[in-house]
């Protein structure tokens, strides 16, 4: 379970999050929507402490995350998939998947590789195990990044605009993997502009604007009958 309590975040003079309160239940699929600059990415990045909130509390499974324990909590409980994939370019696909398990969890190399191959197969890239990231297309890189998140076996996976940097024809292969993933009992928090995906997999949608959550609800309710003027405006522009 993820809890954000009265989160404020400022970069210099700019306040990007204003008193955000949010709870994500175990196994829930949450999609965060909103115009750019609304604070969606900052919200998700506060969850794993990539951004330290200026004030407020982040709780994971009842434990409060601090600067001190963040490596341990984040390593054990959550993974992240980034817009720019952020694979390690000097490591092969397989090594990208096994580095953290071997170095942090001290799993034997052989076991880590076996597990990595299992997840590579899951995203359909087992034949690319020994390739380097730069030899893959954007869609393939993002699928590797998802496999890297899966191999950690964390209950929570955060997706920060996973398809925004992809060429249009590659969006589907990544979304397909994510839709598949949504069938499992993993907590997924996803910042995205893919409305079809949100409708299909989300248990709940939250809509942010100007650093605040201004609307939330079931995806069908939200998309068909948005309550706030701002959400109506937003939806009319992107649908």
């Amino acid at each position: 379970m993820i809890q954000l309590q009265n989160i404020n975040k400022s970069f210099g003079d700019v306040q990007v999050l204003k008193d955000v309160n949010l709870q994500v239940k175990e196994g829930e699929k949450l999609v965060i929507l909103g115009p750019s600059g609304s604070g969606k990415s900052t919200t998700i990045r506060c969850m794993n402490f990539l951004e330290e909130p200026t004030s407020g509390l982040v709780g994971i499974d009842g434990e409060i995350v601090t600067k001190r324990n963040k490596n341990k909590i984040v390593g054990e409980k959550m993974s992240m998939v980034f817009q720019q994939f952020n694979l390690y370019p000097h490591k092969t696909v397989l090594e990208n998947l096994t580095l953290a398990p071997i170095k942090i969890k001290k799993i034997k190399k052989w076991d880590a590789e076996e597990k990595a191959m299992y997840f590579l197969e899951k995203v359909g890239l087992e034949h690319k195990a020994h390739a380097y990231p730069q030899e893959l297309s954007g869609g393939q890189q993002q699928r590797v990044a998802i496999a890297r998140a899966l191999v950690a076996n964390t209950k929570i996976i955060l997706f920060d605009e996973p398809t925004s940097a992809l060429d249009p024809e590659m969006v589907k292969e990544v979304l397909d993997v994510m839709v598949d993933l949504a069938k499992e009992n993993i907590t997924m928090v996803c910042v995205t502009h893919e409305m079809g995906f949100a409708r299909q997999v989300a248990d709940r949608v939250i809509f942010m604007d100007d650093g605040q959550i201004i609307e939330e609800g079931k995806p069908n309710e939200f998309f068909d009958h948005p309550q706030t003027e701002r959400a109506k405006q937003f939806l009319s522009k992107i649908m």
């Binding site: 402490f49 984040v74 370019p89 580095l99 953290a100 170095k103 034949h127 390739a131 890297r148 950690a152």
Partner: protein, 241 residues
């Protein structure tokens, strides 16, 4: 006076030249390189420190050594130290100077190398639970090292040539032996040519190495072509993606 006269006389001096080259020039260069790399890496990492005072000290050091001639630096140490009652061997002074001088340059190379690794790499590492030190060791530095190998090798070449500042403090290195021999025999070109050939014999291969690293970087990180038929088949069968 013929510029190219005197080869017959210089030939018998070649062993002396070689001794000076190997025992002084090469030795100073090797120890100097190791020290310069150590200084460069430590100072380079310090310059991305969050502490303002540390960054200030680093700037002072780097700007001083980069913006004054190495000849002045060596004279300064050579003449100043005895005033404080410190007597050091000429070779020790030379090692100090070349390592401080090139350490300053190397620290800038290291700093720019570390800074050129995208922020996303740190974030990915952090999101996997790596501590700051672990991210540096496993993710950032391996990428940095490969990136900075070409300019680093060029610095080693420059350091090797700069060991010739030993000449001005009578350090007994190759340049000193060549210059003094030229001085008292009046035969000028041959000893300097021999010295040039010896410097070249070490520096040229290093320069080629630097170029090789550069080429390798242009290609980026790519898979070595596998000869294993099983893997080839696996890759060949992957036309659907």
């Amino acid at each position: 006076m013929n510029f190219f006269k005197g080869w017959d006389k210089v030939v018998s001096e070649i062993p002396e030249f070689l001794t000076a080259f190997l025992c002084v020039t090469v030795w100073v260069a090797i120890v100097g390189t190791l020290l310069a790399l150590t200084i460069g890496i430590v100072v380079g990492l310090m310059s991305s420190s969050k502490n303002k005072f540390i960054r200030f000290i680093v700037r002072v050091y780097v700007e001083f050594f980069q913006n004054t001639p190495i000849l002045i630096q060596i004279f300064f140490i050579y003449l100043a130290l005895p005033a404080f009652g410190v007597r050091l061997h000429e070779m020790t002074i030379a090692i100090m100077i070349v390592s401080l001088y090139h350490g300053a340059y190397i620290s800038e190379i290291v700093r720019s190398g570390v800074e050129s690794v995208p922020k996303g790499q740190y974030e990915a590492a952090e999101s996997q639970g790596f501590s700051h030190i672990q991210s540096m060791v496993y993710i950032v530095l391996p990428q940095t090292i490969r990136l900075i190998l070409p300019p680093l090798t060029s610095q080693i070449v420059a350091l090797f040539k700069n060991t010739s500042v030993l000449q001005v403090i009578a350090g007994g290195d190759l340049m000193y032996v060549a210059a003094s021999w030229a001085g008292y025999t009046g035969i000028t070109a041959p000893p300097y040519l021999i010295a040039a050939v010896l410097y070249f014999s070490i520096c040229y291969p290093l320069t080629c190495l630097s170029r090789y690293f550069e080429k390798k970087n242009e290609a980026g990180y790519v898979q070595k072509k596998s000869k294993d038929p099983a893997i080839l088949q696996l890759e060949g069968g992957a036309l659907d993606v």
